[in-house]
Point group: D2
């Protein structure tokens, strides 16, 4: 059985597991104060060309979004996000559970537009009743988005400029950041991202780690007593080494970028295969998630041999499905998929 179900069906890059084994019996202190965490933080600061960056390791994506948003917002503020954003739709209400509204604006293939963000902020402040409303206190974008799309450098800078003029932080959800940075169609680098936003996270779970996300505060703006608040949210890992060792490995010798590039190459190969066979694409994704439109009968037939994800219905007879590659995808599996296509 082939599987392109998602980018978290395998374990971790073997270099990570090896490193865990090698360091296993070293006695180190807990809660992120060990030398591996420190080393990983330093490597990330360098990779971001952001020497003042404060880096904190958390375990998962929803956890990271909920903690960053909850600790950076004032109680009377909400976060502006695309209607299709992960925080809006697929986090079981974790943002609201911790007290904050997600102020939804339109999503365009997963992306928000700087001018629509600006309109949202402007209208709020112009409304005479705004003190009876939720204050927009942060902008959230994902890069790549939930639809695999990417912001260009110019788009990022425009959104960033809007945020600065309204004095709210820009937060970038980088659950799949590696695949965005390794895309063949991007002009956004890690330093550019760090420059444009106030806080972002480098996704580990979907890019080669067993678990783990590295939150990067880029502007000397990590909330005071952040560790205490992380604990309060139940998210402080006792054996912080587990996260430190993983990120230290991923940011040694460009491993994070290298394995991301492999996933992109596999996605490009897959894209070419679908194109050559005239399969219609739902949208053009330059990253590791590919959205194809299939006849429902074809789905039924393919499912016997391949696992993939349903995305959305397209009328009665057709469906959007997602095929995802990852750092672990094998070329032979992509070619085996082609053999099943008509």
């Amino acid at each position: 059985m082939l599987s392109f179900e998602s980018d978290y069906v395998e374990g971790a890059h073997e270099k990570i597991l090896k490193r865990l084994l090698e360091t296993n019996l070293e006695k180190v202190s807990g809660y992120g104060s060990d030398p591996y965490c420190e080393s990983a933080r330093e490597k990330i600061r360098k990779a971001c060309a952001c020497p003042q960056a404060e880096v904190f390791f958390l375990v998962g994506g929803t956890q990271t979004n909920m903690i960053v948003i909850d600790t950076m917002l004032k109680p009377y503020e909400g976060v502006v996000a695309a209607k299709t954003g992960h925080v809006s739709l697929h986090e079981a209400g974790a943002i609201e559970y911790h007290g904050h509204k997600v102020l939804e604006i339109p999503g365009h293939e997963g992306k928000i537009k700087a001018q629509e963000l600006e309109a949202c902020l402007r209208e709020f402040w112009q409304d005479k009743n705004h003190e009876h409303m939720v204050f927009p206190g942060m902008a959230y974008i994902s890069h790549p988005t939930e639809y695999g799309t990417l912001y260009s450098r110019q788009e990022l800078e425009e959104i960033s400029a809007v945020c600065r003029s309204y004095e709210i932080p820009l937060y970038v959800d980088g659950a799949r950041l590696g695949y965005g940075l390794a895309s063949m169609e991007t002009d956004v680098t890690l330093p550019i991202l760090a420059e444009c936003c106030d806080v972002f996270y480098i996704g580990g779970t979907k890019v080669g780690a067993l678990c783990g996300e590295a939150v990067v505060f880029t502007k000397h703006n990590m909330p005071k007593y952040f560790m205490t608040m992380v604990k309060q949210h139940g998210a402080l890992l006792a054996k912080g080494r587990l996260l430190g060792i993983q990120f230290d490995t991923l940011f040694t010798d460009q491993l994070y970028f290298e394995i991301s590039r492999h996933a992109i190459e596999m996605a490009e190969l897959m894209k070419k295969g679908f194109l050559e066979r005239n399969y219609p694409f739902y949208l053009q994704s330059p990253t590791n998630q590919q959205f194809i439109i299939l006849d429902n009968r074809e789905i039924e037939s393919l499912q016997k041999d391949v696992v993939f994800s349903f995305w959305d219905k397209l009328g009665e007879e057709r469906t959007v499905v997602r095929f995802a590659t990852s750092w672990a995808t094998k070329e032979e599996d992509v070619r085996a998929l082609f053999a099943l296509l008509t």
Copy 2:
């Protein structure tokens, strides 16, 4: 440098790391639906002699306490715990942050007394104003306690009886459960524990795992849509396999009990060493944490060669310190410690 600082300074038992490596490239589904989680759940049910048990894997201890307590309590209820309980003191207010009061009763070397719990419950219900107060909706105990002490079977049964007569669940925090079950001075087994309480967790982080706690609902009482609420608390792990594989390994061939017994043997050896040298004990702990009273000058001298934890001041000149063993403690290290004692 020797270290007896805590039971989470090493990585994981090597069998766990090996198993992670062996299964690493298998493609499995996420969020705890993989075969390793299923297998681990089944083994835990057997070890508990509790075929109806519902088992859910979470990442850490504070996270587990906060989620179990928050999802099992009604909004107007609090949890009764010892003043010295982990939930009362050392979780950065995670219980209150999620809306519930910790109703503190006295701790006796970390343990609560059935009659004091009963008095607390009785007085609440007899108070004519109780609808203006926080309802006691659950009893929390830790076993072993934060002081290394253990409840006897009879004590557990008495506390359990009080809870049943007031119709509130009994929750046991088993962060160090293995070390309690392996103690030479206990008559409590896993099946007895499962019988006495409504929900408990089997600690992995401090007993051989990289991370992970197995929550066991023993009475068909896992809250509905528990997974959704776990996600809402930011605690649902995408690669659930990481937890499943660890617990599956720990509950294969009695590994969990075997490695716990080793920690106890090391603790007993250490205890004997301190006794022979006439060091005063702060209390009698039958588990892996030993509390010794040291002169402040002796502390200063010992600290040059050994890491251990400060616990409490005892007047101006003496201090209670903690030496912890774990599944990974080496006999040679304990003996090296003796060489440093006067």
Copy 3:
């Protein structure tokens, strides 16, 4: 200066103030257990033709929405409401602050459509990932809506049927309920409303009281220990008599309906005046709020003599404004307004 700014610019109906004076020195017990609250509850049950109704008095509208929604929803549930609903827009995020998402669906002049509600519920349950999403656990409508519009009996019954088939409660925000029931264009009565919904509130603040809203649970469904949860939300009034006496007065000799009818008559008179002078209406409102489109220059001129509310911009030169009547509006004031119109 004339004022049609809102329906809460005056104090209370004089019969209420008189009654407060008459009963002032009687010693009664607190927290809603006094005889006036009991009498008011009984009169409301009769007016609703709902003998089993449980009635609880609260102080204000946002408070009521937040408490009803928070205590009736499970932690993993949100409330479905129109994008323009009061809970979505104008409660400073009180619903989210208490942990629940407002799941927004389209508003049509303030109203939701049964089929769109049904689609929202159906799509949720059909989504294979719904356990990672917020469960729609209640439907919220306002009657009259924020735009002064009303649901017909049939529309209410259709929405009610959708809620029942998905087993979620229907909650009606009746901040201006009197004005809806007294409208000349409605076939909805209090008993019909009570039949259709699971919980609603009868607005006092905007309909003749100093403060106060009467929450009515119609299906033996008041959450257990509701009073304790009200206190927990800081909303339990010590001198409950203040609410009891007001509602007892409003529901004696049909006062609530009579004063509401007066507001409607004044609104109809005002409507006629605008129509005769060919002012364009933004929408047809059968209740006490009238939405007129004015040239910006005309607004400037009118504002010298009349207070009214801005509602929305309509391009660069025109604006939607609101004129509200109330139980206290004088016919001479409406006619004085006409004299100012061109």
Copy 4:
């Protein structure tokens, strides 16, 4: 039937009701922006000799405590209070429900001691693990306390000094403040109180108003967008005039102090009556609440003619009961009580 059950069994001082009637049909704006609120704020600033004070009117005591505490604390902070404090015991967990732990220290007849507060703060900061604990972020005292006792000026100043040296605000719950200020045994005035603390409230509900408490921020420290956060807690009153008119009346011609003095005179008369008849007092209260120890048989007999409150059991045969006077207590009622005593 006589009643000394509590100080909120009557309505409001008649001057308040008269004033409500006189101003009833004036059209004023909502949410506290009306001229009566403004006038009341100004009078309170003068009475406090604190021209920079920011004054905000809320509806009830628990509501006020929960909002002041929640908006002034950081998320990781709790409030230090006596174990017997209202926020600790009798607010249904409203503080915890909004996310903050009440850090309990001993109560001495309701009062905390400066040195015990200091010890609590010192021990927290000295604890090396304090980042895993709840930060003490505010001190809460009630004046008069729940036991009717009062702090002396010196005690207040000592507590204030401790708070300042640890840079946390001191908050005084003045639910019964009038009765404290009017006591014959106090050297604390409103200006002294305003000087000593950072925020306090002047209780209206128990001192002559129908409802209402005036929160006074004394150090230019009202949290930003406080009104929005009040709304978010469901506590913003639409017809703010109801609160403004009441406090404006209470602070006109010293009414608040005058009616408080009456309650004290009645309490002193009552105290004398009990003393002359050799009834034992539970403690010496200089305010309007008197705590007497009665035989259980005597209670049974008295209850036929008088309503009073049970406070606490004192062994099997005796009980502490509370008799409360108020602004509305009649001398003839106190004398009628004497006639019933043995």
